[in-house]
């Protein structure tokens, strides 16, 4: 132990006497904080008020009593917890395999793996649902081929669907922890005679713990809040999100739905608390610029490549079968090919696609910027402020989209505040998309920030750089890979997310996900699939375009960024 670990470990926060910097640090924390308060905390406070509003319009806990007294609620809770746990375990293991393959192993085709693994993020939920049914359903391809009748509706189908959706997010967060690991420690371990297995156990796992725990946290809460998969493939496996749907949509009883929505925050807060406790045992990981370049090691890389390939094939097949089916005349009864499903005139046709792109770009750019500001600000904020703020920033994923969307109506469709001006605007749709995915964006950037050595900031500070310069010249380039993946993540999700947005569209303003839902509602499932494929193609094209621009900029700047 050197004498510097003690003071730094216990205090961490740099001095608070920055004058101009102090103001800037305040802005860094303040602006995202105001955003979180206005667009998350305030709507959720209104949800909470609704949850304690009784039938006769008074405040009381009778709604809670009723929910807690129903056996359906406890069954759904048990199911949600089991499903959350199982999905978390599976997603984190598979996510780690992929992230480890991508960043710590040597084999070809990583670009392809990276591309395939994000597919579930850019696919509208309908695609995943259809894909799984076409593939694994009772009348699906697998059952037809092997002449069996496998039953996917229920626990197993839901587990697969949730894992598909959670996997790319787990990879994103775990990857953020693995990509920046220092090569030197591995060289040191190698020299000391540590076997690859030992190195993995003693170096990789501990170092990736922050990422693994963050990923587990995110996967757990997006699983227990997800409604789409549960409705389509969950069969009778009722979960808390289906309880909310049944209350809010089926019985038009928002107050009771709000109770379940508020209850969903509890396991989330608990999970977050456990995660933070576990984190505290791990000191900050010292890192420097030595990048790890894996050398081909057959014993490690061949199985890893095989596993990666297998997972990617599974993901790809689900999406690909829908793509194929969108050209099939009448799945599964008339398999001749046709383009007719692409001739979409109902539900507004293709018009919603373009406005969705703009909204998504704005949500992604604004969101990435805000999350970056917040992460920078948190480094300078006193612990008293930083800790509650971190919990707040990690909370939004705990709110099912449906609850968030309705909360936005209750909050912003009130002429009582100037926020009313936002109601019915594209801006509000962008905002709800960002805050819906705030948790994932925030935790990914924070995972990157943890790898940032404080010596870099301190050195820049001593050279005379203020916080603004440090943020732009030092921090931003360092966490650039995370910022880019957060931007793409927000963009992809904004393009296809339905749950919250469905309540905020207006007659003049519809988004692609709503068009898909309307086509499917109209029974035109093949057209909905075709439209989904168009959305995926547009998103993919946009992503490739942006990557090309980034690569071009990167080359011009001649920096060593290798994200």
């Amino acid at each position: 132990m050197t004498d510097k670990t003690l003071p730094r470990g216990t205090s961490g926060a740099p001095p608070a006497r920055f004058d101009g910097d102090k103001a800037l640090a305040l802005v860094c924390v303040g602006v995202p904080l105001i955003g979180l308060v206005l667009f998350f905390l305030y709507p959720m406070a209104i949800v909470f008020l609704r949850s304690i509003t009784t039938v006769d319009g008074e405040y009381g806990l009778s709604n809670y009593a009723e929910v807690l007294g129903s056996s359906g609620f406890w069954r759904a809770t048990r199911h949600s917890m089991i499903m959350g746990g199982a999905t978390t375990l599976l997603s984190v293991v598979l996510g780690f395999i992929i992230a480890h393959g991508l960043y710590r192993c040597a084999f070809r085709g990583k670009r392809l793996i990276r591309a395939v693994i994000v597919l579930p993020l850019l696919a509208p939920s309908l695609v995943q649902a259809l894909g799984l049914i076409f593939l694994l359903g009772r009348n699906g391809v697998v059952n037809q081929l092997f002449g069996v009748e496998m039953e996917i509706y229920g626990f197993w189908g839901l587990l697969i669907a949730n894992t598909l959706y959670a996997l790319p997010q787990a990879v994103m967060i775990i990857g953020a922890a693995l990509v920046l690991l220092d090569a030197r420690t591995y060289e040191a371990a190698e020299v000391m005679g540590a076997s690859p297995m030992r190195q993995f156990r003693d170096l990789t796992l501990p170092a990736a713990r922050f990422g693994i725990l963050n990923a587990a946290f995110v996967v757990f809460i997006i699983t227990i809040t997800d409604f789409g998969n549960a409705a389509v493939i969950g069969g009778d496996y009722s979960v808390l999100a289906t309880e909310i749907y049944s209350q809010v949509i089926g019985q038009r009883n928002f107050n009771m739905g709000a109770v379940v929505g508020i209850m969903l925050l509890l396991p989330t807060v608990a999970a977050y608390y456990i995660e933070r406790r576990a984190m505290r045992l791990q000191g900050r990981h010292p890192v420097n610029a030595q990048r790890f370049v894996p050398r081909f090691t057959p014993a490690r890389d061949l199985p890893m490549a095989g596993l990666n390939l297998l997972i990617c094939l599974a993901v790809l097949s689900v999406i690909a079968i829908v793509f194929y089916a969108s050209f099939v005349r009448l799945w599964p009864y008339n398999m001749s090919l046709t383009l007719k499903h692409y001739d979409i005139t109902l539900a507004g046709g293709y018009s919603s696609l373009w406005i969705t792109i703009w909204i998504s770009l704005a949500a992604a750019a604004g969101g990435t910027f805000l999350v970056f500001l917040l992460a920078v600000g948190l480094r300078r904020a006193p612990a008293m402020l930083a800790q509650p703020l971190q919990v707040l920033a990690a909370m939004p994923a705990a709110v099912p989209g449906m609850v968030l969307g309705l909360a936005y109506i209750l909050t912003f469709n009130s002429t009582a505040t100037p926020l009313y001006l936002l109601y019915g605007t594209a801006a509000l749709i962008g905002i709800v998309n960002f805050y819906h995915y705030h948790t994932q964006a925030f935790l990914t950037v924070m995972t990157g920030f943890r790898q940032l050595p404080s010596a870099l900031e301190e050195a820049a500070g001593s050279l005379g750089a203020g916080l603004g310069r440090v943020a732009v010249n030092i921090i931003a380039p360092f966490v650039a890979p995370m910022l880019i993946s957060v931007f793409f993540f927000l963009f992809m999700r904004s393009m296809v997310t339905l749950s919250a947005v469905v309540f905020l569209t207006t007659p003049d303003l519809s988004v692609a996900a709503v068009t898909i839902m309307r086509l499917d509602d109209a029974g035109l499932t093949s057209q909905a699939a075709a439209f989904s494929c168009c959305v995926m193609a547009v998103v993919a094209a946009a992503l490739l375009g942006m990557k090309a621009i980034l690569a071009y900029l990167g080359r011009n700047a001649g920096t060593g960024s290798d994200g």
Binding site: G137, N139, G250, A347, W354, T506, P507, G523
Partner: protein, 337 residues
């Protein structure tokens, strides 16, 4: 990348949307749950008939629309509700928001298709149906079911789907019809008998039919509209109305009292009872409550009887609306999974 023109256009529209208010004079915001295809036809005709009024129509499914209308209740955004399930409309919280208006021509409707206080009237409706996948039925060697009782047969084990009445209006439509047409005791017993064969209770009303049409299950207890639409597309489905009567739902229209454009809203409601509109209903709807409207082609093709009354259950909507909370609760206790 885009041209500067489209950027500025979007900016302009964002600004305009930034000031979104309940539609001003000359504009109507209409919330509807009508099906896309008919909606497109009706809207086009209505817009032609009312050239000075800009019709802004928002379409959502019955359940989501209800959630939205109630969430917006403190400051309603819509001027009109058009073609929305009457069971939902009869929710006291919704009725409270509606204004009375006797649309021109509404007097031709029998009393049970209009509110005594003229807050809503329902010239059209939709009905439930069994969607039966013929190849799967054959493969399983099962007889074509013609009644709820048939679905209780051993061979249908895990081959039947129906929507959960607690999540779906369609689910309630069926449960209510069974209870009202057979009487409460016999009705519950019937549902009890079918329950072991139910593979799932789904949250969406059209899902059972969509699952049945691609051969995932044999019978989907669902909507006639989805069945007809699927048959038209070519799916090997049979649409079956259970003996003893199938449930149906009325699609009601009404004006929200918060509207600041009551004049245009009334003109629109008048249009929904115009000869032109009624003629269009005849083209698209299986269930038209306006007396003397002939059967639509699609309905005939799908095998709907000419006198629709023969297949409909005898439903008392008032009673159905009043008992729905109790019924759903009891259903949940008996069949909740």
């Amino acid at each position: 990348m885009t041209t500067p023109v489209s950027v500025s256009r979007i900016t302009a529209s964002l600004l305009a949307l930034g000031l979104a208010m309940p539609a001003a004079a000359g504009e109507l915001t209409i919330y509807t749950a009508l099906e896309e295809e008919e909606l497109a036809a009706y809207t086009e005709a209505a817009q032609k008939a009312l050239p000075d009024v800009e019709l802004n129509v928002l379409r959502l499914s019955t359940g989501k629309l209800g959630a939205r209308i109630l969430a917006e209740a403190d400051n309603p955004q819509a001027d009109l509700i058009w073609g929305w399930a009457v069971t939902a409309m009869m929710d006291p919280r919704i009725l409270e928001m509606m204004s009375s208006y006797e649309a021109a021509g509404v007097d031709v409707l029998p009393d049970r298709f209009r509110d005594p206080e003229n807050r809503w009237f329902a010239p059209i409706g939709y009905m439930g149906a069994f969607c039966v996948n013929k190849p799967r039925l054959e493969e399983k060697g099962l007889p074509m079911p013609t009644s709820w009782a048939d679905l209780a047969q051993e061979g249908f084990k895990n081959e039947v789907l129906m929507p959960d009445p607690n999540s779906s209006g369609t689910g309630y439509l069926h449960v209510n019809a069974v209870l009202q047409s057979m009487g409460a005791e016999a009705g519950w017993a019937q549902l009890e008998a079918v329950d072991p064969n139910m593979a799932q209770y789904t949250s969406s009303g059209s899902k059972p039919c969509k699952s049945a049409r691609i051969g995932e299950y044999t019978v989907g207890i669902s909507l006639a509209f989805t069945a007809m639409q699927s048959i038209q597309e070519g799916y090997p489905l049979a649409m079956v109305f259970p003996e003893g009567g199938v449930g149906y739902e009325l699609e009601a229209n009404g004006i929200l009292s918060s509207t600041d454009n009551a004049g245009d809203a009334q003109k629109f409601l008048d249009w929904t009872m115009s000869d032109e509109a009624i003629a269009l209903y005849g083209e698209y709807k299986a269930l038209v409550t306006v007396p003397g409207v002939g059967q639509s082609e699609a309905a005939a093709a799908a095998g709907l009887p000419e006198d629709i009354g023969t297949v409909l259950a005898d439903v008392d909507f008032d009673a159905s609306a009043k008992s729905q909370v109790e019924t759903k609760k009891e259903w949940r206790e008996r069949f909740g999974r």
